[in-house]
């Protein structure tokens, strides 16, 4: 947890953002250090998904105020692909289908783009095959998924596991999991959570955006933040999530 030598990974200050002309984020502050797991909870419309998309640079979302630094860089000065190459990863709430593009071709292009960025050698298809066959074990997926078009004809759970496979291959500094637990049955949830846990190191960090406490039984956060009305209104340890689960979001509002 917090120690003197902890490295600041992400520092967001007073972030305000709009989508379609409506201000959704109204001053978010968040600091994430390397080695930490954060959970952002909140009701629908509280701004938690917007927050993750703004960080990743979705073109529909416009920053209207505040700052964010990521790995020492001004995050908002970077294009979405530059943010990704700098080590920011978003696991999508609704992963898109890419017909005709195989999973392995996508993974290899993404991986090699990063290798180039990091000044490392690109892997040829055979070398990459070895790497990805190791990584795929993390999410207990059958290797036949690698030859299939990205997410095409995948079940909801398979799509989410595919997101975590991408995370495993790309080894981001900061992974934002946007409602990765939604639509997962209990087995898929366990697999996804085990996958994420196995990828945690003292040098990376995870921010989970979720509606339910359920996921947090599997991936235990160091911090729980509650978002409401476009702001983080409460921060606590993992017990805050349990309290929310027991008493509901209204309890917080009443308390506020």
């Amino acid at each position: 947890m917090i120690s003197k030598d902890s490295k600041v990974m992400l520092e967001v200050k007073n972030l305000r953002a709009k989508v379609g002309g409506v201000e959704i984020l109204k001053g978010v502050d968040l600091t994430v250090n390397a080695g930490e797991v954060h959970a952002i909870m909140g009701i629908n419309g509280s701004g938690k998904s917007t927050f993750s998309k703004v960080l990743a640079g979705h073109p529909d979302y416009h920053v209207t105020g505040g700052t964010a630094s990521f790995a020492g860089k001004d995050l908002f000065a970077l294009e979405p692909e530059e943010r990704a190459r700098a080590g920011l990863f978003l696991a999508f709430q609704y992963p898109v289908e890419i017909p005709g593009v195989s999973n392995s071709a996508l993974l290899r292009l993404a991986y090699n783009t990063l290798q180039t960025e990091r000044g490392l050698e690109e892997l040829d298809p055979l070398e990459f095959e070895d790497l990805v066959h190791e990584k795929i074990k993390v999410v207990e997926m059958d290797p036949s998924f690698l030859g299939r078009s990205v997410n095409e004809g995948f079940s909801g759970g398979e799509k989410k596991r595919n997101e975590i496979l991408q995370m495993a291959v790309l080894e981001p500094k900061l992974a934002i999991l946007d409602e990765t637990d939604s639509g997962l049955d209990i087995d898929a949830l366990r697999i996804v959570a085990n996958g994420v846990n196995s990828l945690l190191t003292p040098d990376n960090a995870v921010v989970m955006v979720t509606h339910y406490q359920r996921l947090l039984n599997y991936i235990v956060p160091d911090y729980v933040h509650v978002m409401d009305g476009g702001r983080i209104v409460r921060t606590g340890g993992k017990e805050l999530a349990q309290e929310l689960e027991a008493r509901g979001y209204d309890w917080l509002r009443a308390a506020a």
């Binding site: 692909e81 890419i98 071709a105 960025e117």
Partner: protein
Amino acid sequence: MSTVLNNLVNQPYKHGFVTDIETESVPKGLSEDVIRLISKKKDEPEWLLEFRLQAYRHWLTMNEPDWANVNYPRIDFQEIIYFAQPKPKKQLASMDEVDPELRRTFEKLGVPLHEQKIMAGVAVDVIFDSVSVTTTYKAKLAEVGIIFCSFSEAVREHPELVKQYLGSVVPSGDNFYAALNSAVFTDGSFCFIPKGVKCPMDLSTYFRINTEGSGQFERTLIVAEKGSSVCYLEGCTAPQFDTNQLHAAVVELVALDNADIKYSTVQNWYAGDENGKGGIYNFVTKRGLCKGVNSKISWTQVETGSAITWKYPSCVLLGDNSTGEFYSVALTNHLQQADTGTKMIHLGKNTRSKIISKGISAGRSSNSYRGMVKVGSRAIGARNYSQCDSMLIGDRCEASTFPTIDVQNTTAMIEHEASTSKIGEDQMFFFAQRGIGSEEAISMIINGFCKDVFVHLPMEFAVEATKLLGLKLEGSVG
């Protein structure tokens, strides 16, 4: 959507220059006199003039087809120049005597006319406006009995072959544009592969329209005798003019017993500017006749660059066990309109056909697949598989599919699959979030989409096609 998509689709046309060369043309407009003049200039035999005049008289009774899903102002056929050629010098003794200006033109287009510099192992017939400039590797091909020359030369040197096959697949009155072509065609390529010969190299025709206001009406005739095979490539470009130019070609293929013809086109005429000004009207009739048993004709086309495309390379499967194939990628951007597809006419027993069509629409363009699969009453055991996929880039373009299936034999098996997909902002954001830039993302999506067609292109064409689609789409997703 977005600038990235937009920038990707809006790459300028690179072949739009005009060659400054002295040309000789007949006055614009069409009449029997003009046809007689063309025929005289080409020193043609009487039967060919008769063929032309018959076609012309038939054409006069026909109406321009209006069933295609394309819109354009009526063409004034009296405003078109029907014959233009670089001023002839003396008879060319060797390639080195080709007008240096012309040679430079083709070098700029990547079609060098020196045999030693030519794409390894591809013989090329080069058509500039109305005439064939040169044909390479002619002598080498003649050693194995292959005739590969300009159409005019074939008329002079091999009149009996031309007479036998001209109009045998596409009769002169077949349709409005075929009739027009039959009346005024000026040159083109002729190719004859004798019995049992596998053509040792790919044959290729490169078409270039240069003169403003001129139409191009070329004629290609390929005959593959029993047991022979040939792979044929066609490439085309045109300068950038504000006016529309008409290209109305006719291609006829004849495959006898056990013969195999593979015909590939990468078409990159000038498509007009982003507001739809200028560009080529590509109204082409291409048809192959699988005349003999076990014969096979395969069409592969990559259509990227006409203002309007009206084109249905077809196969008539007359011989028992014959096979027809059609693989197509049609890309439209800006205000381009394409209505393209194929006809597979099953007449013989156990005939098979396969149709793979990929339409990509961007900008405000319209892209239609129109296809017909017809199984005659005597075509026992006929089989067809069709797959028509459309991809939309952005939200102002249009894709349509018009399949017709007409089966008169109960033993036929016909399958048709169709899909529509869209390159959307969410896909682009997904790629970006994985660190992949928009150009690479689009190229990856498009290549994935077109994979089933590209594998049927000869290697150098496949590379060119991939690049071409990338260029055409620069700036269209974002």
